[in-house]
Every structure is written in C-alpha cells, then in structure tokens.
C-alpha cells in the first residue's frame, strides 16, 4: 500500500498542528472519533466576523487521517462559516488521492469540521 505524495507531505510537514484555548469565545472545537476505532480528530477554528481566521488540529490515527485533518485546517483558513459548511469529504479524497480503504478518514475530517462549526455556533448563540 503506497501512500500518495500529498499524504506523506502532510504527515511529514503537518499544517497548523496544535491547540487553541477551548474556552476562548472566538474558538470552536470539534472532537470526533473514538480511541477504540483507532481514529480521533480534534479540529479547532478561530472566528472573527463570521470568518475563520485560524485553524488547528490534533489527530490520533493513521497517516491518511493525519493528512485529512491537516488539509482541513488549510482549507478552513480564510473561509466564512457558510463556506466551511460546504467542504465535503469527497473533496478531501480527491485532493489526497485516498484509496477506498481510507475514505472513512476523510469522512471523519468532514465530521470534525462540522462539529467545530456547530460548537462555535452554540457559543455565539449563548453570548
């Protein structure tokens, strides 16, 4: 099973790896997956004026999972909340050339994005 160059690149040079303070009011956090499944992704967004100005990720999972979440943070930066909702796992599959057996990694990344957006939304509503 050879990995695509892009997956290897994200693995060796992860983009935006790290964490924001979960309690900051401009931060949305999405945590998806489960240790028993071998995949856990934490995706965070920093939002100003309905635009994602920064994003960070941390992932427990295989190379494809790490690459999917790293790519997600790259794509999220600069998007509005509405645009971010439109990111589909199939876009990730295409960009990273994920084989069928790794498609679920991209699905998890999409779930993580949606979870982060939902978390931010809830915070914004409660303000």
């Amino acid at each position: 099973m050879a990995y695509s160059d892009k997956v290897v690149d994200h693995f060796n040079n992860p983009r935006n790896m790290g964490s924001f303070k979960k309690d900051d009011e401009d931060v949305g956090t999405g945590m998806v997956g489960a240790p028993e499944c071998g995949d856990v992704m934490k995706l965070q967004i920093k939002v100003q004026n309905d635009t994602i100005v920064d994003a960070k990720f941390k992932t427990f999972g295989c190379g494809s999972a790490i690459a999917s979440s790293s790519l997600a943070t790259e794509w999220l930066k600069g998007k509005t909340l509405e645009e971010a909702q439109k990111i589909k796992n199939t876009d990730i599959v295409q960009e990273l050339n994920l084989p069928p057996v790794k498609i679920h990694c991209s699905v998890l990344a999409e779930d993580a994005i949606k979870a982060a957006l939902a978390d931010y939304q809830k915070k914004a509503e409660n303000k």
Binding site: G38, K58, C62, A65
Partner: protein, 405 residues
Amino acid sequence: MKFPIFLDNHSTTPMDPRVLEAMLPYFIEKFGNAASRNHTFGWEAEEAVDTARKQIARLIKADPKEIVFTSGATESDNLALKGVLEMYKEKGNHIITATTEHRAVLDTAKSLEAKGLATVTYLSVDKQGTVNPQDVRNAITDKTVLISMMLANNEIGTINPVQEIGKIAKEKGVLFHCDATQGIGKIPVDVQAMGIDLMSFSAHKLYGPKGIGALYVRKKNPRVRIAAQMDGGGHERGMRSGTLAVPLIVGFGKACELCEQEMPTESARLVKMRDRLQTGIMAALEETYLNGHPTNRLPGNLNISFAYVEGESLLMGMKEIALSSGSACTSATLEPSYVLRALGVGTELAHSSIRFGIGRFNTDEEIDYAIKKVIEIVTKLREMSPLYEMAKEGVDLKSVQWAAH
C-alpha cells in the same frame, strides 16, 4: 547500514546465502523428478530429498519417515485438521484450540464447523497469551479427536506450555497437533519429549525458501493416520500427492541444519539484541506496554503498545525500518489484531502496537538506529495526539463520551 532495515522477521526471513547455494544445483543440473524411479536424474533428486528429510527430522527429534512435505505451514495446518477429522470421524468430531492461533488454524477450524464436520472449542488465554493446560484438560470430551495449540505466537512471541499439553493429550488418548511455525529453529523442539503427534512448520520462517513446509506425522505411539487432502499419485506415503519441489526441499533441509548448528549462540545473541531494544525504548518513553509474556517468549520478538499514538502512523514515520503493527489501519479487514484483543489489551492499545522481529542478519547498529527512530516518532506523534494532550491535562480517557460515527 543498509536501508530499509528489516525488523519484521516474524512475517518472513531473508534466505541464508548458504541455503541458496545448496539449492542452486537442483534447478538446472540436477533437475530430476524425485519420483522418477528409472534414471539417475530421479535417483539423485530422491537422494537430495532424503538428505533433507534427515536434516529436518533431526531438528525436531523425529524419524525422517515422519516428514510430509507441503507447500507451507498453512497447508500443513489444513492437512492436519481436515486430515484428522476425516480419518477419525467414527471416534468423534471435537477439536480444542485457542483464540490466539494463526488464521491458518482458526479459519480451517471455522470452515470445518461451517460444513458440519467439527465442533470446536476456542480456549481463551491469559493476559500474557499463555494457554492454561488445565483448561485443555477440562475441555476434553469423549468426542474430542484433536487438540491444536501453537508452540509460540507470531504476534506476541509467547511460548505455550506444549509439554504439559502433550502429556494431557497422551493421558486422554487425544491427538495433539502443534503449529510450530514461529518456534522451530528458534527454540529447541523435541516431538518425543513434547508429546506431539502432528506438527506444522515452514521454511521461510527459518531463512529458507518460501513455498515449502512440512507436516510431521507420528508413526509410533500412536501411529497417526490422516486423510490426504491432495490426491493424485500417492506421494508422501499417500498423505500428500504432487511432485516434490526438490530445490525448495533441499533449501528447507539446509536451513534446518543451519538452525540446529547455530541455535544456541544465535538465540543468545537475539535475546541480547531484543532486550537492548526493549530497554532502550521503554526506558526513554512513558506509557509503553509490553504485549506477551515478559520472559517466556521467542528470542527475537518484541511487541509494544505506545499509548496515544496509532500504529500505522508510527510505521509511516519509520519508513526506513520494516515492522508490523496490530492496528486496524494496517490490516486488510480494518480489524485490530485479534491476538492483542484476546489478551484483553483493549482496542485502543491494540491500535497502538508495533511488533519487532529480530533475526539472524540484524546488527547492533540497526537496533540502536531503531531505538532512536522509535523514540523520535513516538514523541512527534504524541505532540500531534489529542489523546496525549487530554491525558496530560489529567482527563481520564475512559470516562470520555466519544462522538464516534
């Protein structure tokens, strides 16, 4: 140092150059069919096969006539289980085996169950992967015709109490099959002392060629009979038809001879390297867990779980070292290692495991390089891991509600 470094000697081994040398004449010069009775081509092939039988038998303290050649340990396992069930069906159809056996045994047992030809008891193992002989004794019924227990486990290296199991089998009049694929050539095997009636093993796990294995079939006390699964010509005393793969057999024999000669010094050397690797890694990193028995394990085997990092990403970060993992992501079926699960290791740690297999051709330099790399990549991946972050914050991961999909 040559890259990539091969530290996956439980999956297969490189052929010993001396084995290759022994095999070469039998491809082009001495290419006869060992069953050709009427000319020198056949006779010299047959002689080479006889020599190999002797070399193999000596390694396991058997009689050369008790060696049946097959295409490998998988075929031997199939032949043992199916052959015995068919032959002894008047006596019964119950098999006792364990949950940590190789797929070649488990899938064969399941296939027999599915066809209504056998009922199978799958004994569980303790936390270190050892079968309890008492459990074997308790599982025997008057319909039991076969006990199948491996000598040593391919993933965690744990060595089973084969001698005790053999004694119980003898006492109860049940045949004992041992899949010895991982143990032969690494630890001493004596089919007499161990009370073994049938034994599977293959050449490519002991620096011999792929494509050849053997089934030891006891001839005396008791005389074991099996129904052939390959018909057509009656080779191997009617137990396994098919023209013998002479060059492979010659290689198999030579590989066994070398193992017999080198085993004492080699296993001491492998244990030293393995212990060095183990200490080097586990002293430098926190939350690492050894899978399998701490001392009663194969000389070159090490299996460690690294909490908070996943196995496939570990392997990816050490591409220049060949290893294997119990992680679901590395298996074709996306299931984590059933062996680690059987130990009660917990699926999360099963996903985080790496198996190291040190062999004859590994060097101390390679071990030191591996230690360095493992520490490096585990540290890097823990930085990247949300689980590590949570653990460091004092979160009890077992109490978290995960939003799994």
